[in-house]
């Protein structure tokens, strides 16, 4: 029995020596013999019949990934999805809101009849419950329509084609072509999009994809955009074109978001994250017939319920906070009013107002609840109660709070660009493990948001 200990380095030395003996094309020979074996075995076991359906995929791909039609088709599909969401969500939203309003009124009456202190009744029903009711009625219908359609596209195999169409844009920005895929996932949820950046191998390009994912609006922000587009943009058009105009406005906002994704990627790739864009292979999978059950499961359980539940969890405490702020007075003025007054100068400078900024501060945990929060602060301030339709929201915002088209446009821009929600920030931290990049990921969008809205507000005020 030998007790001689062999040093691993000796093995490596010997291997290196043997490799040199065999010549340079050694690896090529291994790979080509592998390919030859694979081809030989495949040829023996596969018979290709005379199928005429063979090149259907290729025919479709030649159109949807063509340099001429690719991008317009993509935009058309996007617009169609938003349009269906907008016309489909309006009515159910209104019904839900009316239903919850009746529940709120009845329950509050009941509480008062039972002799529950008015303060507690108000806190529970006009605070916490109203927050929840708003979130459910504003968010549930659009999500239940939007998510299944998005999932169909994913299942069909369209997303890789999107990446293919947009590859050149990202490459020119100095980023990775697969960032188009992670960006598309960001439409569902930015946290999910950031997790999906793991498909990008290069750490530099992955970091760019993580830091810029926030610039595409997630599903938490779509309801805000859709509502604002419906109330303000659509109202400026004749009824026949209203929903189309609203869908067009949302597509416009999405395009601005994609623009900022590319711009910020380009800036990062030119400054702190310099380097060459790396090459990669992207397989265009065959188109597959989506499976209905799986789509319903993925879109309704995994996505809709998940996002809604998260919104509910953050809306309840937010509703409570607003109620407290609106109902505790100091020097005869509510705390909400004080906070809003404090934020007013900054809000005005960027074309918004103090209440909107206050809503954004309260809604940091989840973007979903910004509009409900805002409306509740307005209502708390103006003591108005039943908001059951888009018409009433329009009356409240325009007639009583003095909103203009500038407010609406800047709110859409601010909503698109501002800092990511708490979940997304935590995800950036988890994926990068770096306090520096997490801070940049949170603050860079905020700087963009203030800069862009300030510029727009200043320009509009100077011109009109």
């Amino acid at each position: 029995m030998t007790t001689k200990v062999l040093d691993p380095r000796e093995v490596l030395l010997r291997a290196d020596h043997l490799r040199r003996e065999m010549g340079d094309d050694f690896r090529d020979r291994i790979v080509s013999s592998l390919y030859a074996d694979a081809q030989r075995i495949a040829d023996r076991s596969v018979q290709i019949g005379t199928g005429q359906k063979w090149d259907w995929d290729q025919k479709i791909d030649r159109i949807v990934t063509s340099p001429v039609f690719g991008l317009p088709i993509m935009l058309g599909i996007l617009a169609l999805i938003f349009w269906i969401t907008i016309i489909g969500a309006n009515y159910p939203s209104q019904m839900l809101a009316e239903f919850f309003f009746v529940v709120e009124a009845r329950a509050a009456e009941l509480f008062i009849a039972w002799g529950v202190p008015a303060l507690l009744t108000g806190f529970i029903w006009n605070g916490v419950f109203r927050g929840l009711a708003w979130v459910v009625s504003v968010m549930l219908p659009p999500m239940a329509i939007f998510f299944p359609m998005f999932t169909v596209l994913e299942d069909l195999g369209y997303l890789p084609r999107v990446a293919f169409n947009m590859d050149w844009l990202f490459r020119n920005a100095g980023a990775h072509g697969k960032q188009a895929l992670t960006m598309a996932m960001g439409f569902g949820c930015n946290a999910a999009g950031i997790t999906a950046t793991r498909v990008i191998d290069s750490p530099r390009e992955r970091l760019i994809a993580i830091l810029t994912n926030n610039f595409v609006p997630c599903n938490g922000r779509f309801p805000t955009l859709i509502m604002l587009a419906t109330i303000f943009v659509a109202a400026a058009f004749p009824p026949a074109f209203a929903s189309l105009a609203a869908a067009g406005a949302v597509v416009g906002v999405v395009l601005i978001g994609v623009g900022f994704t590319l711009l910020s990627s380009w800036l990062l790739a030119r400054t702190v994250l310099q380097g060459e864009a790396s090459a990669f292979t992207l397989e265009l999978p065959p188109y597959r017939r989506p499976s209905i059950l799986r789509i319903l499961y993925t879109s309704l359980i995994d996505r809709t319920i998940f996002v809604l539940w998260r919104a509910i969890l953050t809306a309840a405490p937010a509703g409570a906070a607003i109620w407290v702020l609106a109902n505790i007075d100091w020097n005869g003025v509510s705390l909400a009013q004080h906070s809003a007054n404090f934020l007013q100068p900054l809000g005005y400078a960027i074309g918004l107002d103090g209440v909107i900024l206050l809503a954004y501060v309260i809604a940091i945990p989840a973007n979903e609840i910004v509009v409900p929060t805002m409306l509740m602060v307005y209502m708390g301030v103006s003591a108005m109660s039943d908001i059951t339709s888009y018409d009433k929201i329009r009356t409240l915002l325009i007639d009583e709070q003095g909103w203009t088209m500038l407010t609406a446009v800047n709110l859409m821009l601010f909503s698109l660009l501002h800092n990511p929600c708490a979940t997304t920030i935590i995800t950036i931290w988890k994926e990068t493990r770096s306090a520096k990049w997490t801070t940049i990921g949170a603050l860079m969008p905020l700087v963009f948001a203030f800069a862009v809205t300030f510029a727009v507000a200043t320009a509009v005020r100077a011109l009109w």
Partner: protein
């Protein structure tokens, strides 16, 4: 249950029928470890979901199973842990995905590896199968997407494929669960040794075979208990940095006597992340 197997009238009474049970992530102690490898977009995740009853996200785009996910099923009173590896085209170059898959096949020491291949693109998929066969011989090839192949007018002769590869092949349509019972039964038989596998190994030029023969005993001395010294020798001859490093740092040697336990704890965490 699918209607696809109704031509076997005794199907309902077959032992396999009653004994396949999806176990989700409640792994507990498993008897066997099964790895699931394959090219991207071959329906690997569909196979995984169908066997474990989990809802690992399935999407028609390449590279969505970024980390490996885990689940379990039980079959004929044995518990199997199934690990879904990221889809890769090869194990030769070292992208992160390929490394995760390769490391698992090497260090995770699965009792059996199922390679899912796309019946409509067999040639390209076989490259990976042949590379897996160089690492481990306990392999079952799952020829998935048989329905798409049929739609495209292709006929895949799985018997000829089995014979050429030296390992069992099972035709499946994971989306309708067709053939999956056959798959778990074949996996069980390979693990039990009831089906002997004699994987085809690529014929290398004589000087290469000579070099491998020289290195294998050396590697076995440095890293005793390594199940595939031949593969390590080939990688060293190719100058594979990761394998060189693993040998130097003693990572390969530590394999001996290492239980599957540490792998389990790490990957259970991964499994939970994968579900999110």
């Amino acid at each position: 249950m699918t209607a696809a197997v109704t031509d076997h009238s005794n199907c309902e009474t077959c032992p396999a029928h009653a004994q396949l049970e999806q176990m989700g992530v409640s792994l507990g102690k498993s008897d066997y470890l099964v790895a699931l490898a394959g090219n991207p977009n071959t329906g690997k995740s569909s196979v995984f979901n169908a066997l474990t009853g989990l809802r690992q996200h399935v999407g028609n785009w390449t590279g969505k199973t970024v980390m490996r996910a885990e689940g379990g099923y039980s079959f004929q009173d044995k518990r199997y842990k199934l690990v879904d590896l990221p889809g890769t085209y090869s194990l030769l170059s070292a992208s992160e995905d390929e490394e995760i898959s390769r490391n698992f096949l090497l260090f995770g020491r699965p009792d059996c590896t199922v390679v899912v291949v796309d019946a409509t693109a067999l040639e390209r998929n076989l490259n990976l199968v042949l590379q897996v066969l160089e690492i481990t011989s306990k392999v079952v090839v799952c020829v998935n997407l048989m329905d798409e192949a049929k739609r495209k007018g292709m006929k895949v002769d799985v018997r000829s494929l089995s014979r050429d590869l030296g390992v069992p092949t099972v035709p499946t349509v994971a989306r309708t669960k067709e053939g999956l019972r056959d798959l778990v039964q074949t996996v069980a038989a390979v693990i039990a040794g009831e089906i002997a596998t004699k994987p085809v190994r690529p014929q290398h030029p004589p000087e290469l075979e000579k070099a491998v023969d020289e290195l294998v005993p050396m590697i076995e001395t440095v890293a005793p208990g390594l199940p595939n010294a031949r593969w390590v020798a080939l990688r060293l001859l190719d100058g594979d940095h990761k394998v060189r490093q693993a040998l130097l740092s003693g990572e390969l040697s530590e394999l001996e006597g290492r239980q599957a336990a540490p792998v389990e704890t790490v990957s259970s965490v991964v499994a939970l992340q994968g579900r999110q």
